[in-house]
Amino acid sequence: MISVFKAEWRKLRRPTLFLGTMLASAGLTGLVTFLLFWLIDSPQGNSDRGNTISREILQLPSGLTIGFSNAAGLLGIVALCVFAAQTAQEYTYGTLRNLLVRQPRRMQLLLGKYVSMASFAIAMVILAAVVSMSLAFGLSGKAKVATDAWVTSDALHELAKTFGNVLLSVIAFGTVGMILGLLLRSPISAISLGVIWLLIVENILIAVKSSLGNWMPGNLMSTIAVGGTADVSYTHSVTTVAIYLVASTAIVMTLFKQRDVSN
């Protein structure tokens, strides 16, 4: 599996993919964090869907990482695209047959690819966290947000918890991308379906019937990143997402193991 991991990283580290993805992640997280502080006094709100995160909340030990955790959904979409593209392109380029000739143990191939992409996601999340926290410190003066609580042991604890939750959420999004890539065997189809479902279909369904938010995978994965919301608990989100992913992963692994490779 180590050889699969190393081989996959040879593809992941190519500059356009690696730097492009890292810059996109840093840019998105930076934008969310910037708006959080820049619009702190705006009557239109400074967070998603017009919500306001007040100065008092930002001054708490958890305030340092609010921008980072708010960007988790966007980081998740980026991870979904990377995982889906890296998986499905093996079918469209016809390279899967080369990989399977060199590594015929299909489960090892799949697992090695997954672990390497997960490590890519970890690098992405670390960079996003660094960018977001640096911006938070940089913008705190202009936004008149006191940072005393950000350098306490409570803040460190909050950072570790938020980082873990965001990482879990991002890897869950990525896993959905890989599942779609294996099922649809086309990067465009996998990414389109994933993004349209997560950004459009789920929002329409939740707007029509709010209780559906308890069961929509995108909403649940975003809820994991922020550690739970008033509407959906963290435990429910983690449990439900785990059930969804384990069931669908079992299906695609069976398909991948048994399906003929004829392209």
Binding site: S3, V4, R10, K11, T16, R102, Q103, P104, D260, S262
Partner: protein, 305 residues
């Protein structure tokens, strides 16, 4: 039958069915170690499907097979010693040729030390750092062959390796395959360039509509074919008389494009020469021939049934 330990490939009743249609039907053939074996058949005859089954990419519907002494049900036991290029080269367009080989070398656990020497061996030594998407079809084909050579294979399986190559490139690949065979590598190569296969193959497997028409030594195939004699005369009006002489001796003949084609063994040519001289006919050409692989192929795979 050759002893199993001397066989690189052995398949028995190997079949692949899609719906009601057999892509490969009860194929039986063997490829001895250290030989170059041509794998020929019209488009859609089941060559690529057979190769995919041998490489564990698709599951057979029936039958069995062995590669280097291991069942094709366990490709992980033999693929480390097998190099393959299936249905043309397939690589990542955004990576260079070298990086593409590095990916496969790392995956196979071979290390990347000999990637440069492989690039040089296939004539891409100075283009290894160019992106794959900038390669011509011939260069892509060469990279595919280099990738197949990565494991220093005991068995090399190549599907149409000369596609897209110019005559010089074809000659280079032919020489490469010959040298690999001399080094002891068994080469199983499918191609539609039958004249090429005729030059390098000792064995042949011929498929048509998923069925094996012939499998064995190439000379056995030719021996089974009807030899013929080509005759030309300075004066074309003498050719009907040549046909009469042949008919009198019990040999069929046809006249095409100013040449008489007489079905008959090579040793009858001297008799024909004597009879023609006796009849006052001068011959400008008298050539005993065996059918080429291409002629044999068309005869065997033709839709005459």
């Amino acid at each position: 039958m050759v002893g199993m330990s001397n066989l690189a490939v052995a398949v028995q009743d190997l079949s692949k069915k899609y719906g009601d249609m057999f892509a490969v039907s009860h194929a039986n053939f063997e490829v001895p170690m250290g030989t170059v074996c041509g794998f020929v058949g019209p488009n859609g005859s089941g060559k690529t499907t057979t190769i995919r089954m041998l490489l564990g990419l698709i599951s057979p519907t029936g039958g069995s097979g062995e590669i280097l002494g291991h069942s094709i049900k366990h490709p992980e036991k033999y693929l480390a010693s097998v190099g393959a290029m299936i249905e043309g080269p397939a690589f990542y367009p955004a990576l260079t040729g070298r990086e593409n080989l590095n990916v496969l070398a790392t995956l196979g656990g071979y290390g990347t030390d000999h990637v440069q020497s492989l690039l040089e061996r296939v004539g891409l030594g100075d283009r290894g750092n160019s992106k794959y998407k900038t390669y011509s079809l011939g260069m892509k084909q060469r990279l595919g062959i280099a990738a197949a050579l990565l494991p220093n294979p005991k068995l090399l399986i190549l599907d149409e390796p000369t596609n897209g190559l110019d005559p010089e490139g074809i000659q280079e690949i032919r020489d490469l395959l010959k040298s690999l065979a001399q080094e002891g590598t068994t080469v199983f190569v499918s191609s539609h360039l039958l004249s090429e296969l005729e030059l390098i193959s000792q064995h042949l497997v011929m498929l048509r509509k998923g069925k094996v028409l012939f499998a064995g030594k190439i000379e056995d195939l030719f021996l089974a074919q009807q030899p013929f004699i080509l005759v030309k005369t300075p004066n074309e009006s003498d050719l009907p008389k040549i046909s009469e002489i042949a008919a009198a001796a019990g040999h069929k003949s046809t006249i095409r494009s100013g040449v008489a084609h007489i079905e008959g063994p090579a040793d009858w040519a001297a008799e024909l020469n004597k009879s023609a001289f006796a009849a006052g006919i001068t011959l400008s050409q008298l050539s005993p021939m065996l059918p080429s692989l291409e002629e044999t192929f068309f005869e065997m795979t033709g839709d005459s049934e």
